[in-house]
Amino acid sequence: MSEKNMKEIPASKFAFVDMSDRMHDRKLETKPVGYFKDVAMRFARNRGSVVAAGIIFLLVCFAVFVPIFAETTYSRALTDTMYLNYGKLPPKSKALAWLGLDGMAEYTVNTHDYYALRAIGEETGLDPVVEVYREAYQDPTASQNARFYDVKVDTYYRMGMLYLTMTPAEYEALQVWQDETGIQVIYPAVSDAKQTDPNVWYQADRKGAPTIKDGHLVPIYRTTTPTDTSYHSLRIPSDNDPEKPYAYAKVTGTASARSYVVRICKYNFFLYRYGFEPEFMFGTSARGQDILTRLASGARFSFLLALFVSSINLTIGALYGAVEGYYGGATDLLMERIADVLGGIPFIVVTTLFQLHLANKVGPIVALLFAFVLTGWLGMASRVRVQFYRFKGQEYILAARTLGASDGRLMFKHIFPNSMGTIITGSVLVIPGVIFSESSLTYLGIINLESSTMTSVGTMLANGRAYLSTDPYIIMFPALFISLLMISFNLFGNGLRDAFNPSLRGVE
């Protein structure tokens, strides 16, 4: 301590810093922090907003890349009539099976349905019953004769059979494919002409209760003569009597326009037709549309619309607000009244009017865009106006004016950059609003954007609502998407607003 006696430092210990005649300013050694860098730094400190920005990025990637990379021959065949046969398939993905996306469902079935499921497995080898939890139990609330089974079912195998009418060429092509791959698609016709259920290939009474002989179902395949050449291809193992081969198709039509009604296995037919085994990561809708690609294209539409609306509103609003705020007085008063009137019209009325007037002429999307633009810029205009009122009286503006700067230069070179933060935040916060309005309007059915090639998240939600209790996954993915989007946009917007707000600098 005694060595560091600060009070009495001997003169010899002092040294001159600078002995030259002139003094120079040192150059700053640290890098200067500009406005936007400061904003970025303060934004980065807000962890929630950074995560939200990441989620938004992922959602945008989802919307951009999924329609490009996850397109399949199935999702591209948009007007295919086969679609309806593959409706309501739950999510299934080999890679994500551990998440529960395995296409399985648990059911309680009665004896008839249980045998029907078993029969599908026995005929095609694709057994829909994966696991039986409880076998043949009685339900005290049901009839004493009824027996129930708790089963885990592979819904993709449960699709079973389908009667399909084919032209001779299609029929031949399918047979050739069968021979090449060895996968059975066509199954024998049944002899019971009254049986309309394509899944029943066994003896059963009118109610569908099967006859069991020695613990097995009794097949009722229709047989034909050895000379019948309508079928040459793959045969199922029980078809081993050369005198009475099974008939594989019901031939109808005239000699010139023949058509074949065949019983096909839906699962294998999918493989034949689209080249891959059915597997939908997000499942299929009631109409058989692949939810993954459909949702992605709906999301892409929403994002594009929101970006477009946001940029148009930004331009109009900034110009309008700048003029209002800069000139003030009578101009401001008049323009504010116009904005008042426009702002007083409820958005839903604006949209409806535009739909009724323009939807037939320019299409519903453009009409929707007009509706968004008509009143959407008001918020931006009022924000910019306030900013202009704040800055136009300041000294630096007076100085610039004294130097002869024109009105336009003052507005856009001097004041405008100062309101940049408000404008950016405003246009980011517009995006979730647009997406929300769009999905609400399509949900209500006021705007119809649904077509075979296009959809919107709102329409998907509206279509899925009928299946809320039976197939909740149809509605789950669009709902999850829109919720995630809204949450992350709000978080992101709040983070931006705080970062751009200079009064919060150093407070956090």
């Binding site: 009137v341 007083g344 409820p346 839903i348 009325v349 009017l353 009724l356 007037h357 209790s469 829109i482």
Partner: protein
């Protein structure tokens, strides 16, 4: 104050008139269906059209519209939705359901939102506040129809606590109807609770950190006393008008929820009148005017109530 109110009301009426006139012209420009297609109601509708002066020039029609509809309250007859029925009667018939649902919602949402907001403000930057803040962000952002699906799926379908849709009938105040309305009230209320919580928390924290509160504490008031007597009263100045505006605004604002839960209110009427083919223009006209009025009135009430609660803020009164 009175002068200010009169000024605001007159201005509002002017804006309302302009908007309604615009809507009138735009609706009149739309193609109308010939009365012949309405079958046996043809003559009735033809007569009504005659009485409303549909075959006269647009300016004269507008005069008739102002006299009969705006001032007389006769908005014509339904031409495609409820063929032959008075539009105004049908509208008034639908009104109670909407009002009941929204009143229940506000009754449940307002106290809850205020309490949560106050709690979060008092526990600022503690874990309780953080939990509430995260919940608020989630609940403010997620659209109300997503809650509706969740509530329907879990409470109605899985747990079977409530019916899927509102019980039919017109006894809106019975307990059974109330139970069947709970899913709708919850779905509507979540967003409002969250919004109110956020707002209350922001306002109250601002007041709690102000100097006059420190003065009150130094004068010997307990923390509870300062909070209730000083902080809350001051924080309520901006909060109360917000609640008021929300209440008025929500009357027109629950289109989707009413649709989902089968509530026979104004929202489904609007959607049905627009999506009917052809659209029912008379309903559309009336409901457009109604929604416009609701929006304008809620705005003006907010401004005026500011002046009533806090005499210091009488905007424009000294102009």
């Amino acid at each position: 104050m009175l002068k200010y109110i009169i000024k605001r009301v007159l201005l509002m009426l002017m804006v309302f008139l302009i908007i309604v006139s615009m809507c009138f012209v735009l609706i009149k420009l739309l193609p109308t269906k010939p009365a012949i297609q309405f079958g046996k109601d043809m003559q009735l509708i033809e007569m009504r059209r005659e009485a409303l002066g549909y075959n006269k020039p647009l300016i004269e029609q507008y005069m008739i519209f102002v006299r009969r509809s705006l001032l007389g309250g006769d908005w014509g007859i339904s031409e495609s939705l409820y063929i032959g029925q008075e539009v105004m009667t049908k509208f008034l018939e639908k009104m109670p359901a909407t009002v009941v649902v929204n009143s229940y919602t506000m009754l449940f949402a307002t106290p809850l939102g205020l309490l949560l907001g106050i709690y979060a403000a008092l526990r600022k930057n503690k874990w309780q506040d953080h939990i509430i803040s995260v919940a608020v962000i989630v609940f403010v952002s997620v659209p109300s129809y997503v809650y509706a699906f969740l509530v329907q799926y879990f409470l109605s379908f899985r747990l079977k606590w409530f019916p899927f849709q509102m019980q039919p009938g017109y006894d809106f105040l019975s307990f059974k109807t109330f139970v069947s309305l709970v899913p709708a009230i919850l779905s509507l209320g979540f967003g409002i609770v969250a919004g109110l919580t956020r707002y209350t928390r922001a306002e109250l924290t601002e007041v709690l950190t102000s100097e006059f509160l420190l003065l009150a504490r130094t004068k010997g008031l307990s923390r509870a006393q300062t909070t209730v007597r000083h902080a809350l009263r001051n924080a309520m100045v901006p909060i109360f008008p917000m609640i008021l505006g929300e209440f008025i605004g929500i009357i027109g604002g629950s289109l989707i929820i009413e649709q989902i839960f089968g509530i026979p209110g104004v929202g489904p009427l609007y959607v049905a009148s627009v999506t009917a083919s052809p659209p029912d223009y008379n309903f559309f006209m009336l409901l457009s005017a109604f929604y416009t009025l609701v929006g304008l009135v809620s705005g003006i009430l907010v401004d005026i109530s500011y002046g009533f609660i806090d005499p210091r803020i009488r905007m424009g009164s000294k102009k």
